[in-house]
Every structure is written in C-alpha cells, then in structure tokens.
Symmetry: C2
Subunit: 189 residues, 2 copies
C-alpha cells in the first residue's frame, strides 16, 4: 500500500555509506519523476546524478544539515550519503515552479523507499559553490533542491505534536529521531 | 509497484460525476499528505474537503480548465468532478513553501489513483471568489492549488515529445488525451 511507503519515507540523515547506489537505480528514480505532472506539462526540471566518492564529497560540502539539531552538525565519515540528485530548472523553458519540484522529489523519494533506500531533501544549499564544483552554467540552470540518498542507518519515528505545539524534530540519547506530526483534525478545516 | 501508480496518475478532466467520493476517502488521502515532509517540518498546509453537489458547483465555477485545449472549455454536466480538495497555507505558521504543496498534492493524487480515483491539479483558480464562497479568511489562509477528484472517464496516454519539441498536450477525435513527455536522456544532464 502507498501509505506504507509514505510513512517509511522519512528524512534520513545517516546512511550505510559503504552501500553504493547504482547509476541504474538513480536513472530509474528519475524515470518516475519524468512521468509526473508539471505546470502546463512544461517539464522544466533537469537532474544531475552523483554517486562517485569524489563527487559525493563535493556535494556534501555544500549542504546544511538538520538546522533544528543544535548538537549535531552533519553525518560523520562512514555515515554519509552514497549518492545525490541535484535538481535544476532549465531556464530556457521559463517555468521555475517550486510545486513541480515538490511533485518530482516526493515521487523520487517514494521510489527510493520502495527499493530499500532513503533520503533527505536539502533546501539549504551553497548553490554558488555547487554550481562551480560541477560546472553548472547558472545562466542556463537554476539549482533547486539537492536530494541525498543511501541506505538509511537510523530510526525515524512519527509522534504526535506535544502540548507545546512545537513541530521541531528531535533525537533521544539512543539517536532515534522523532518527528512530531499534526493530527488530521488539525489540518482539515 | 510505485511506477504503475505514477504512470496511471495522470491529470484527468472528465469524470463519472454520478460516482461519489466519500468524506472518509478524502480524509484518508489527507492522512497520506499529513505524513509527508515539509520545510523544517513546519506542516503549514491545511485542507478543505468538498464533496456535496452544492459545494462542488461553487468550486467548479472558480476553475480554469486545460488552457492548452482551445476547442474545449470545461467538462460538461455529468462529467464533472465528484469532489475537491482546497489546499491552503496557514499563514500563522509563516511557511508558504510551494515545494511542500507539491509534495503533498502528488502524494494525495497517488493515493487517489490507488483507490480507483483520479484527479487534476488547478493552479488557475479564482481565489477571491473561492474564498468568498467558502468563507475562507484570507488574512489567515492563502489558497494554493485546488485538486479535482472523481472516477476518471477518459483515456490519457503518455507519448514521446514530437520533433517540433512541443510539450503541449492534445486530444484526438475520439477524445483520447495525449501528454508528450521528454525522454530520460533529455532531462538527465
């Protein structure tokens, strides 16, 4: 059932770095995104696939990890993503629509979950540095989100929003990551 | 497989209007969206469920259908959606992020596809009129997309982009709807 995939598809930030993600798998995920809806069917999104040690390091350096976890800066060597997808807009199409990007990246991550992978979306990216590292022509492409991918090495649990109303995610002393979600009755109005 | 759902989940614009969509089904779709990612886990999205004859008509009046089909204005009575979901941002959360909305609506539509429904996302909406009709306080909520839902009554096929490069969708004389999609090699750069 889709619900199982949706619930299993959490934002993972620690991975079995030694488990590779093949280019074939990455392409199959983009093929899912290729078949999704976009504004006026414009299909402005483009993708750069990254899964080599050298290139992974270049992407890693540009990402800001888990802003809400003050005691944790980023995954250590050995627990870093095995692959990335850099999402870009082809500016010649003239349709920079963030909704389209949301549609595509969610589909990619659901697909990743289905094949035993997991990932995290990064909006906080040093795009100037990333473009330089990969020779991305920013007159032609606008960099959107970066997706980190790998075999997840952490437990992420959905919990109710506490009485304080805070939706901040947090970790316990065992490194289990908790994500408070609003109730159905709070979001249907 | 997720791919089957993704391919089956097309933008449908004609429906078996006599087939209702229950409030229970709509709530189950929102429950999928409830479990998705959002920027800093902010969960700013709110949903209004619509599935009565009177309210359906009020939503229908605010939608602009299929801008690329010049000979077709909108579905006729009898082929209109049986339900709608009005997606809104709770402005008190302060996170109007269209990517979050894309993530949520794609998940909802995949869920709808799984239970034999289909839908269409509307960005071209008379939001002023919609807010008035439903008493939505626009100081508190910003209306995003509107999702139309129902049991699809049309065939939608994915085809290759023609030599002209046009991604415009079109219909043949039998009313079959075609959606040209770019190739995998065109979108991976």
């Amino acid at each position: 059932m889709l619900k199982d995939l949706v619930v299993k598809n959490r934002s993972y930030r620690r991975f079995y770095q030694e488990v590779p993600v093949s280019t074939e798998d990455l392409r199959s995920l983009i093929d899912l995104a290729r078949n999704t809806a976009s504004s006026v069917n414009s299909q402005a999104l483009r993708y750069k696939l990254v899964n080599t040690k050298e290139e992974n390091e270049k992407v890693f350096e540009t990402l800001a990890w888990a802003g809400l976890l003050k005691d944790w800066k980023c995954p250590e060597e050995g627990e870093r993503p095995s692959a990335y997808i850099i999402v870009m807009y082809d500016l010649s199409v003239g349709m920079v629509k963030h909704r389209d990007e949301g549609i595509a990246v969610q589909t990619i991550l659901l697909g990743a979950t289905e094949i035993g992978l997991g990932g995290c979306m990064f909006g906080s990216v040093n795009r100037t540095k990333l473009a330089e590292s990969f020779g991305i022509d920013t007159d032609k492409y606008e960099i959107g989100l970066v997706l980190a991918l790998g075999k997840p090495k952490e437990t992420v649990k959905i919990v109710d929003v506490p009485e304080s109303g805070s939706t901040h995610y947090f970790r316990d002393s065992n490194g289990v990551h908790y994500v408070p979600k609003r109730s159905l009755d709070d979001i249907i109005i």
